[in-house]
């Protein structure tokens, strides 16, 4: 009896969690006449793909999609390139006094700055550098945003690798960098992949920086493109929902791939769940 009640509770929670997502998917697949019918058509409707075609073959959503892909990939790669050596140094080298922890927490504190605080100066700085409305400008910002996260996550993963392993490799004639690349990184590969996945998700989902730093059609990302449609006078719900579904699918796929590290990734590496 008690078990049955528990399952009923869990199923209700699951329905509440998934119903809005399901509704968005159905709107993207419904003809206009079904979208806003009364009573609402939760299940019975004829699915069509016209909205996806409208959004991505003729509409500008394919431009936004490409922009989002490029931005997420480039900024993740840059954040890893800069962050992995830093994390390794914080994990391995000897530092004077408390320098190790002080540097680590300073790096973390830059991540905890509310974006709205740095957005005004960043906007003015990028305007001066003629980097507004360019993917390069936004990629820079995303790199700096993800960098502290990379350092904290990767430092945790490096800490778990015994020092002796690379010391042995260095005795065999490897340099520091060689030992990192050929011995240590292969050992932390799952952690590295998880870290990359979280950077990709953050860059892919990010809205505020993109909203302010890219205002031309050619430079918009997928979230900004969707948002610009919501605030328009006449909203094309079908095409927008289709774009929304396309925006959420990669995230759900990536997140399920990194499920094992979800807790660690979402708590900035603080909880080793």
């Amino acid at each position: 009896m008690k078990t049955v009640l528990k399952y009923i509770g869990a199923v209700i929670a699951l329905i509440v969690a998934l119903a809005p997502i399901y509704w968005l998917v159905t709107i993207s697949l419904k003809r206009e006449i079904d979208q806003f019918a009364f009573p609402p058509r939760w299940i019975a409707f004829t699915p069509v793909l016209t909205h996806y075609r409208e959004a991505f073959s003729s509409g500008s959503f394919s431009v936004y999609f490409t922009n989002s892909v490029i931005l997420a990939t480039v900024s993740t790669f840059a954040a890893l390139t800069l962050g992995v050596p830093a994390a390794y140094a914080l994990s391995r080298f000897t530092w004077p006094g408390d320098a190790r922890e002080e540097i680590a927490y300073w790096i973390l504190s830059t991540r905890l700055l509310p974006p709205i605080v740095t957005i005004v100066p960043l906007f003015l700085m990028l305007r001066e550098a003629h980097l507004l409305n360019s993917l390069a400008g936004l990629a820079l910002v995303y790199t700096a945003f993800n960098l502290p996260f990379v350092v904290w996550m990767m430092r945790g993963f490096f800490d778990e690798v015994p020092k002796e392993i690379e010391e042995a490799a260095m005795l065999d004639g490897e340099s520091r960098g060689g030992a990192l690349l050929r011995v240590v990184l292969p050992l932390v590969k799952p952690g590295l992949a998880a870290t990359a996945v979280f950077c990709l998700i953050v860059a892919w989902n990010e809205f505020l920086f993109a909203l302010i730093l890219t205002q031309t059609e050619a430079a918009m990302t997928l979230p900004v493109g969707i948002a610009s449609r919501v605030t328009q006078y006449e909203i094309k719900w079908g095409a927008m929902s289709a774009a929304g579904v396309v925006a959420m699918l990669p995230v759900l796929i990536f997140a399920s791939a990194a499920q094992k590290y979800l807790v660690r990734g979402l708590s900035l590496g603080a909880v080793k769940g």
Binding site: K6, G9, A10, A13, L14, A17, L18, P20, I21, I27, F36, F38, P40, W42, L82, G83, P85, A89, L90, F93, T94, W95, E101, I107, T110, L112, L113, P114, P115, I116, V117, T118, I119, V120, P121, L122, F123, M125, A144, L147, P148, N205, F207, L208, I212, P223, I226, A227, V230, G244, A247, V251, A255, L262, V263, L266, S267, A270, V271, G273
Partner: protein, 288 residues
Amino acid sequence: MIRRLANLFRVEGFKWIAPAMIVLVALSVYPLLYSVKVSLTSASGAFTLAHFRRLLDDRILFAAAWQTLLFTVAALAIEFALGLGLALLVDSLGKARGFFRAGLLAPMLLPPVVAAVAWRLIYNPQFGALNGTLRLLGFDTTRLTWTSGQSSALFSVILVDIWEWTPFLFLLLSAGLQAIPVEPVEAARIDGAGAWRIFCDVTLPLLKPTILLALLLRGMDLVRIFDQIFILTQGGPGTATETLSLYIYRTAFRFSNFGYAAAMSFVLLAVATFASRRLIRAMGPRRA
């Protein structure tokens, strides 16, 4: 200070972290300093304290700060209670645990913009799924205007946040529950303690570090809330759902008053710094 910095340059690891530090200084520290300058500059380019004086008698700012506080406290309390309840519930389900957990996490992984769009489809008073379903069940929905009603807007926006972020507290608290050793719980049971007593006296104290961390992480994000409200209501109707982030955004990018926006952002920074200090302290001992 200078000698310590000079010492740092000689450390072997310094050249490994230097590139990362340069990027962070250029794109986090420098903007912050630049922001100080902007906040002290008038529209004509002269030095001024007017922006900071204006902070003191800006009624909209007070309203936005109050709404941000209300939003943060209400959402955090409910998300915590629901998240803990769900964590305990799902934890006790045995084999089906993984299935439920994966499904329950979906809302927080979506791009916030997409989540907000889904809720606009649901909340719309005329053709939305929520009022439609309620009407189907025989309710009168003429007065249920959700995000477009002056008095219900803030509540409706909080509801979306609860939907979206309860999974986050659920996830962290689940992880915390699984990390609790079984022995103290077993010992209490053998001593004859009831389930409620065990929960209050054994489980909760052991879970406390995780609870603190989860509340701080979520609280910091709530204080700066922007995306969902921007899509759902743009701060309206009127200023019913305006938060600090939205007001700063409007001031800077709708009214082009960068100086005042920068001054206000230091208010938000002060709140966030207070929270992040606590967070950093809470994260500290875990690494040792």
